[in-house]
């Protein structure tokens, strides 16, 4: 359904750069100056400019929400394995989505099309820039530079708080009013997660408590780190006692020096590509590693025992959230905000958390899962109880208090940041 509404497969900014001549005045003068033979090439090169995604925003007019009517359809773009699944007669269904449709009459066109923030933004930014509908009413984007990009350009619909009563009542304090979106004006969290340290006690033979353990020469060649320019630098800043979100360029250089030293001493076995750290810990290729809470929980659940341990180091962990937001010009905003609020009902949040195993933004989901466990029996009951008591899905408030959020970066800062950190991981 709605095949034509799906965003195009090719990055259309690039495609436009390839197909449309966009000769600038300056480019013309330059070309004219460099002689006939070169001029042809120069004009050709200038024509290959990639158009940017920035534009003046036509912000949602006052009264925007009053004029909206429920359309009965919601185009929802999400990440893989990010929605509860139930097999009924060999067909996979999403019980919480079905219940939503049953209650509200809104059909959900649910697609797990987001595999990376930048990749997905690359697809929708050209439409947003052109002031067109992206084809999606609800998207899920991680906080940090990708979300900031959308917020900075005002590419998101401002939310009507009066339509989010469940969110305002049930969201945990760590998930309300975040630094990157004060007052949740444009976003509400879908799920959160912690980036901290995981270790295999069989090999480390001691408890891991501190960021400094990642620099212990005893674990030489057995330490895993994330090799992306988001988690690793931010956690390194936190490890140095600097609040990442308020760090300066001088701090970045210190963090980069620390990470470079760790690499040059041969401490790091592998820079992980945002996945694979749990498997490597279980196989013993690494003994301790930067890790995502959810990955560790899922691996332990698969093995049926506590194979790996996840800790929030005493210097703090990174708390990230994947956020639901409505892109500008979305066709069915009222349907989208209705769904946003729906997932903040404790029983819905519980059903989602029980499948997803990341940090749920609804602490009350715990009671909902416990109630569900009381009704269930056997294996289902045990696994539901595991989830309800899991420190990963329901971290203690003290753990959540000891978390940091990502540094926002302007395009200029991003360039400096990337060129400082990327060469460390790709050595």
């Amino acid at each position: 359904m709605d095949q034509d509404k799906r965003p195009p497969e090719i990055d259309s900014a690039l495609l436009r750069g390839l197909t449309q001549a966009r000769l600038t005045r300056r480019g013309m003068f330059k070309a004219a100056g460099t002689g006939a033979g070169v001029a042809g090439l120069a004009a050709l090169l200038a024509a290959c400019g990639v158009s940017g995604t920035s534009q003046e925003n036509k912000a949602a007019a006052p009264g925007f929400w009053d004029s909206q009517k429920q359309a009965g359809l919601l185009n929802f773009a999400n990440w893989p394995l990010y929605m509860d699944v139930k097999k009924v007669g060999g067909k996979e269904t999403h019980p919480t989505l079905d219940q939503f449709t049953k209650e509200t009459g809104i059909k959900v066109n649910y697609k797990e099309v987001i595999e990376s923030n930048d990749g997905f933004l690359g697809k929708i930014l050209p439409s947003l820039r052109a002031g067109q509908d992206t084809g999606w009413d609800l998207i899920v984007i991680t906080n940090g530079p990708p979300l900031s990009r959308l917020l900075r350009q005002k590419y998101l619909v401002e939310l009507d708080q009066s339509k989010l009563p469940n969110f305002n009542k049930n969201a945990g304090p760590s998930f309300k009013n975040p630094d990157y979106d004060p007052g949740n004006k444009y976003t509400v969290p879908w799920q959160g997660g912690l980036t901290g340290i995981a270790y295999n006690p069989k090999f480390t033979k001691r408890e891991i408590t501190s960021f400094e353990d990642l620099f212990d020469p005893k674990f030489k060649g057995k330490i895993g780190m994330f090799g992306d320019v988001n988690d690793a630098p931010n956690l390194a800043l936190a490890g140095l006692g600097i609040e990442p979100s308020k760090s300066t360029e001088a701090d970045w250089k210190r963090a980069a020096a620390k990470l470079t030293e760790q690499r040059d001493k041969g401490l790091v076995r592998k820079y992980f590509d945002n996945s694979g750290e749990a498997q490597a810990l279980a196989s013993g290729d690494v003994w301790l590693s930067m890790a995502y809470s959810g990955d560790v929980f899922q691996l332990n659940a698969e093995k049926g025992r506590e194979e790996l341990r996840f800790v929030v180091p005493k210097e703090g962990a990174m708390l990230w959230t994947d956020n639901m937001c409505i892109p500008l010009k979305a066709q069915h905003p009222l349907d989208a905000i209705t769904y946003m609020d729906y997932v903040y009902r404790p029983e819905v949040a519980g059903a989602l958390a029980a499948y997803i195993n990341y940090v749920t933004p609804v602490p009350g989901a715990k009671q909902a899962i416990e109630a569900e466990a009381a009704r269930a029996s056997g294996e289902d009951r045990a696994s539901l109880q595991d989830i309800a008591t899991s420190p990963f899905v329901f971290p203690q408030e003290s753990d959540l208090a000891n978390t940091h959020s990502y540094r926002d970066l302007t395009p200029e800062e991003e360039k400096i940041w990337n060129r400082l950190f990327q060469p460390i991981f790709q050595s």
Binding site: G52, T53, R269, S427
Partner: protein, 290 residues
Amino acid sequence: MSARPRAGRKLAPYLLVLPGGLWLAAFFLIPTVVMLSLSLQSGSVEEGFRLTWRVSTYTDAISLYHTQLVRSLTYSAVVTGLALVVAYPMAYWIAFHGGSRKSSYLFLILLPFFVSFVIRTVSWQFILSDQGIVLGPLKSLGLLAEDFHLLATSAAVIGGLTYNFLPFMVLPLYVSLERIDPSLVEAASDLYASKVQGFLRVILPLSLPGVFAGVLLTFVPAAADFVNATILGGPGTTMIGNVIQTEYLTNLDYPLASALSFTLMAALLIGVFAYARALGTEEVLEVSAA
């Protein structure tokens, strides 16, 4: 009256070259020009990229990532050498002793290609794992030190590359060896050449076009590979392909990534031309005719 066919004959070569030419224009020339342009632009994804003739992107690229560039070329050279040493006897044996089963043997060499490149490399990750099926037992027997590992070393990446690119070396070698007329070898031995002399003076020179093609088909793609370094490598084994991929797709730094690609391309072209010079270009044409 006779002018017509003559005109047709004049046009024929151009018409024949047209499909290939269009193909090259669409899939090589245009992307190359776009890439060259991108590498000289500056800006960001949000603001757009504009041609500013910023040449310093190239010096930035080289000063940031020269290690990875040199490493890629070195790995690739080692891989090509290893593949040649392994592939030559295989191709030789199939060509001269394969008998009626030649095509079955060739099929066996191609068989791994029926499984995805990535999956095959990931299975090597399992096999070579620190506590895996090979190293685990050796370690528990005390034959290897506890901290010995193969993954995340240059050896693992070079091994993976050699494994993955071996068929590209075997096939052209086989083609050139198979074409050698056995009576030439007989003639050599009639003229009192020993087996070794026969090989060195007759077979080896005649197989050089195959060696040339095999070396090109292995060296060029191996230098740009990023899969093996991602899966089997660790810190200190990153290849230039990994850097280009990250800069393009993750950091969206199109100019830097394009400058790196261009630098790699230039390095490879210079290498290939120097090599073609050394081996003579006639053989190259002969191979493409083969």
